[in-house]
Point group: C2
Chain length 370, copies 2
């Protein structure tokens, strides 16, 4: 009961901003004595802070306002991607306090070697966070693959199958799919729209569909595998065993060809290189087909292009919009708006940290040991 | 508060079967006096009934058990489809009490004429239900199109656009998409599995994805439009304005060709007619492609083929399973099981009635005027 009341008080402050104790009591239906006792626990844990006198909403009397504190409690976001490792620390107000990215070649890699790299990154960033007075109380890891409990079931580009990720941090810890966490990153740190399909362009292509602020995960947590939606049923063989999947036409490898990086591709596109323009055109057409199927099945509020599709948005927007307009027009009047991600390459690692903040707000007693 | 307590008591009986009043008090945390008073209201409304003495679970004392009553309260399911109208009456225990189907030619039809046909069917079946002592207290209508509030936004095969359905019944009334209600029909009256993608083969092809017993509807309630998933991007033009949609290859018109009915097609298939076999083969391949995309995006527990795909299952199963196996194998180990619907052609109209029963159980005070 006390745990539930702590959660109710914290959720009220989180949702509706600073409150006096009296206003909290009025809003939550708890007694003032109970609220005072809960608030002092939250103060002591560094979860909330007292700020200057505000006018209490309820009866116009001024009082000391209690608000979320960004000074103490923090969460760690981690990401293993094909060509980099990333980490970030986010405080309880969802302010991003630290970010670190390390280029790496993780393709078909030894899990032990990569995990040791992550461990080093964790040590470094946690020490920095502590130096800033932050207490990191949970961590989440984004991986480009399917996840079940603490096990990465299949991350084909990493070459991982059934890899258990243990002893990475000495903290409450979760793992999730990169695209799901990137969608949550967009929700919490990007546009803050609550209904959209986030398309994560990486070496693989994933997606996370968010409806009313919640990711739809399907039955086994495997929903949103946009990269393997069939674009051309008898197209080229895909790494997944299928044929003509979206990834074959619009994955990073298809887009880059011989080029070394997305930056180089953008340079070529800016200088009007016909091969680069053609690769983007082809990718955009394939995305238009796959997103048509996705819109019919998932009915998203809008479509957000993220990951490497963000820097390529200028060149993708035309063919993608055209495809959606031509195919969806009569069924839906206007197709969902197509926009570029507001979070860029950090979406997944931010979403990872944000997912821990959300857990703390939802169950403060458990994660803070109150 | 009383309304909430009525719902708690009714949900307990609905979920866990007959209970003594004492057992209900123990289970719900309400006082025995409160439970007795709620139960007498429910008895009077005909929602529950008293049956013989049972051993009360809590202390071994025998008592009178209170269980859901199938004798009084009932719901009306209605369906407008392209070539028939249907109605059914389902009692509170979800026993199907009456079913009526009227063949009709509703293609590109006048809404007023069809709705008048539905009104006649309602009068007839309601009178029969009353003669059986049933009190119909709500109705739901399934339509083959998209629905928003009380308006059928677009039902392309009916030729309807923005048709407001009013004055159909003098009862609390909802409208929903045929495939969503058919999925719920399968959930409540069919296999009772809680996780599946129900594929509704009709003149159009819809789908309803059920995860943990709930239909996923997307942002605007338009999710599950499987019929317009792209199978061949430059394939034949579809009625929706797109090209190469599933419906072009596997909708009823594509399957039947010159034949008059699904029964006739089944006859031809049984006698080994090569054109009929080829049509099924082609539809099965297209379904395999579209369902591959659907599995990647929606991650269903299993796939249930319903509507006209149920009588054709023998001929579709091979090509569909083959397609799913070849395309999904490496990503998922085994693809979701493919099964035939347990509810047949009645799925949508049963789901419609069932949705009202679910509302009564969830909010008895409101729908019963308690």
């Amino acid at each position: 009961m006390r745990a539930r009341n702590l959660a109710v008080v914290l959720a009220t402050i989180h949702r509706s901003g600073p409150h006096t104790r009296a206003a909290l009591a009025e809003r939550t239906g708890l007694t003032k004595t109970t609220v005072s006792s809960l608030v002092s626990d939250l103060l002591e844990a560094g979860v909330v802070t007292e700020s200057g006198a505000v006018r209490g909403g309820e009866r116009g009397r001024p009082g000391v306002a209690v608000s979320l504190s960004g000074h103490r409690v923090a969460a760690l976001g981690l990401e293993i991607n094909i060509d980099y490792l990333a980490a970030c620390v986010v405080d309880l107000t969802r302010a991003v306090r630290l970010r670190r990215t390390r280029p790496a070649d993780n393709r078909n890699s030894d899990p032990a070697r990569i995990l040791s790299g992550v461990r080093n990154l964790v040590k470094e960033i946690t020490a920095e966070a502590e130096a800033d007075g932050l207490r990191v109380i949970g961590a989440a890891l984004a991986v480009p693959g399917t996840v079940e409990g603490g096990v990465v079931r299949s991350a084909p580009h990493l070459g991982w199958r059934d890899v258990r990720v243990a002893d990475l941090v000495d903290l409450p810890f979760t793992i999730d799919n990169e695209a799901n966490l990137a969608a949550l990153g967009e929700l919490w740190f990007g546009s803050r729209e609550t209904d959209f399909l986030y398309v994560s362009g990486e070496i693989g292509i994933g997606a996370g569909v968010v409806v009313e602020g919640t990711v739809f995960r399907g039955t086994f947590g495997l929903a949103g595998e946009l990269g393997h939606v069939v674009v051309v049923p008898d197209g080229p063989t895909c790494r997944c065993g299928g044929r003509g999947c979206l990834e074959v036409y619009a994955g990073q490898d298809a887009l880059l060809g011989e080029l070394a990086s997305v930056g180089e591709l953008v340079g070529r596109l800016e200088s009007g290189d016909p091969r680069a323009l053609e690769a983007c055109e082809r990718a955009g057409h394939a995305l238009g087909v796959a997103l048509t199927s996705a819109v019919h099945l998932l009915d998203p509020g809008r479509i957000v292009l993220g990951g490497i599709f963000a820097p390529l948005y200028r060149w993708l927007e035309g063919p993608v919009s055209e495809g959606l307009g031509a195919r969806l027009g009569q069924m839906r009047g206007t197709p969902p708006a197509l926009v570029v991600s507001a979070t860029g390459a950090d979406a997944a690692v931010l979403g990872a940290a944000g997912s821990i903040i959300q857990q703390i707000i939802a169950e403060p007693a458990q994660l803070l040991g109150l």
